[in-house]
């Protein structure tokens, strides 16, 4: 474990240095990033101020779910961004060779090789929205809620990673799977809102097939006192464990089928 942390730090530091190598690009990126996040928040408040009540959910409850949804998404985004590139380029060009030639778990190396600083923006926006909503909602926040909240966010991040891992691993057979990964990832957007506004099919699909509901709506509903602890937190952990095991098994099968690329 200590070795993992040391290697992760080292590889991330190298990646940060790489980003800093291209200073102009980095600074422009940074400025653009704050603009985008700023506009994003402004837009959200504008929209929500016009919808005071959504299917029995108050404005601040909706805001809370929306903010909560950002947190697991941001954590996953920060660490596993390389899965996008795996699905788009790394396998088809044979660049995956290098991940198999080092004495490290290839998935760990893939994650450690790159991080996505944009994720900090999502994280900040998420925390801002959650805190704003909490100050307006009179919820009971005890130790169980705080611990449950942290666990649910982490488990939610694992669910994100697992779903991405499943669709990115398809590239071992399809060579490129970025489009299908994109479609799957976009479905997460449905779960930022109170899901009672959708019909049954969408609910079942997002709960059992591609379970993004567990990354936002379901655990957030528990904190809002509308779901049980068992469903909001324990089920979230269960789904995370099952999907990660499945994703990792598919990834391992993919490694065996990897065909590299000719010279």
């Amino acid at each position: 474990m200590k070795r993992f942390i040391r290697l992760y730090t080292k590889l991330s530091a190298q990646y940060l240095k790489t980003l800093l190598e291209y200073r102009t690009d980095f600074i422009i990126g940074l400025i653009a990033f704050f603009f985008i996040q700023g506009f994003g928040i402004a837009f959200l408040f504008m929209v929500f101020q016009n919808i005071p009540n959504l299917n029995g959910w108050s404005f601040y409850e909706v805001l809370f779910i929306y903010g909560f949804a950002n947190l697991p998404r941001a954590l996953d985004h920060l660490v596993t961004d390389n899965l996008w590139i795996l699905a788009g380029r790394i396998i088809v060009r044979g660049e995956f060779d290098k991940y198999l030639l080092r004495p490290m778990n290839p998935l760990f190396y893939l994650f450690a090789d790159r991080f996505q600083p944009d994720a900090f923006g999502e994280l900040i926006v998420g925390i801002l929205l959650v805190v704003t909503a909490l100050t307006k909602l009179s919820l009971h926040i005890g130790l169980i809620e705080i611990v449950g909240f942290i666990i649910a966010v982490l488990a939610g991040a694992v669910i994100y990673t697992s779903i991405k891992l499943i669709f990115a691993s398809l590239a071992f057979w399809m060579k490129r799977s970025q489009s299908i990964l994109f479609v799957a990832y976009q479905m997460a957007n449905f779960t930022k809102y109170p899901m009672t506004i959708y019909n049954k099919v969408i609910n079942i699909f997002l709960t059992f097939i591609i379970p993004f509901a567990f990354t936002a709506f379901i655990p957030a509903s528990w904190l809002l006192g509308r779901e049980s602890f068992a469903y909001g937190v324990l089920a979230t952990c269960g789904v995370a464990a099952v999907f990660f095991a499945g994703g990792y098994a598919l990834w391992n099968a993919g490694l065996k089928s990897y065909e590299s690329a000719g010279n």
């Binding site: 080292k10 030639l101 065996k256 990897y258 065909e259 590299s260 010279n263």
Partner: protein
Amino acid sequence: MIEVRDIIKDFSSVKRQPGLMGSIKTLFSREYTHKRAVDHMSFSVDRGEVVGYIGPNGAGKSTTIKMMTGILVPTSGNIQVDGITPYEQRQKNAMNIGVVFGQRTQLWWDLPVRETFSILKEIYNVNDADYKKRMSFLGEVLELEPFLATPVRSLSLGQRMRADLAAAMIHNPKVLYLDEPTIGLDVVVKENVRQAIKQLNAEFNTTVILTTHDLSDIEELCKRIIIIDNGRKVYDGTLAEIKSRFGTMRRLELKVKNPYAFKAEPLRAKYGLSGDELSCEVVDGQLNIELDRNRIGIQEVINEVLAKTELVDMSLFETKIEEIIKKIYRNEVNME
């Protein structure tokens, strides 16, 4: 050190049709073509050997190396490298091997060369004393010092190759795989890289497996060569053996009035020679004759030429090893 036993590697791909309509059809068809890249390959390599692994493009060289390094899983057969099956215990195997792909660098592209070494030190858990010792040795042999602070993307090809070699050696691997390490280099840099490989092998007793298209690499570095074609092994032995078997081959290059007047067949029939032992071709109006000196005298051949046409100029060469190996590729000579 390395045991390769009866390995086969098949690649399957969806059958593609030409053109845009073809591409659309391909999208819905499930017709596969199977290509056998490596076909019942077996060999073993001892510790400290330097083996040249050669063959024409697409012969299966890289595929074999990728299986030995653990990147690819063989369709059938078995490989052991220092007692480890590389594609099953990748991480354990990775500690034992160093890999250089001539066409693709393994250095951190955007960072100074020095950074790559510091990160590899962490990855391979090299202790400070060993790291210092190896860095100073590699730095000297490969002359790294002048460009350690240069970002990899700004290196010349020769510098990059030297840095890649050093990066593959920093954990003192037991086996070094070099896939076309001299590709694209000029003559002087090529010579540097070869000298470095020689010294590394001598210093650390590293086993080296080398693929190349440049046979002077082989002549200088490898006692033993394995030649493959179409995924099959066609020769496994010493370079000296090839030389002694074909060392009596000579090449006559003749400028004559009418190069087409001479024909090899009558002489072959007269002396009972095979196509290997006497052949001729006309290149740019010049008559080139290859002959086995043990089977037919040079004088007989020249007499025959003089009887047919008028001689302007001539030179005599030992057949180059490259020519011989090309013939082996083309199955023009029998290796049994």
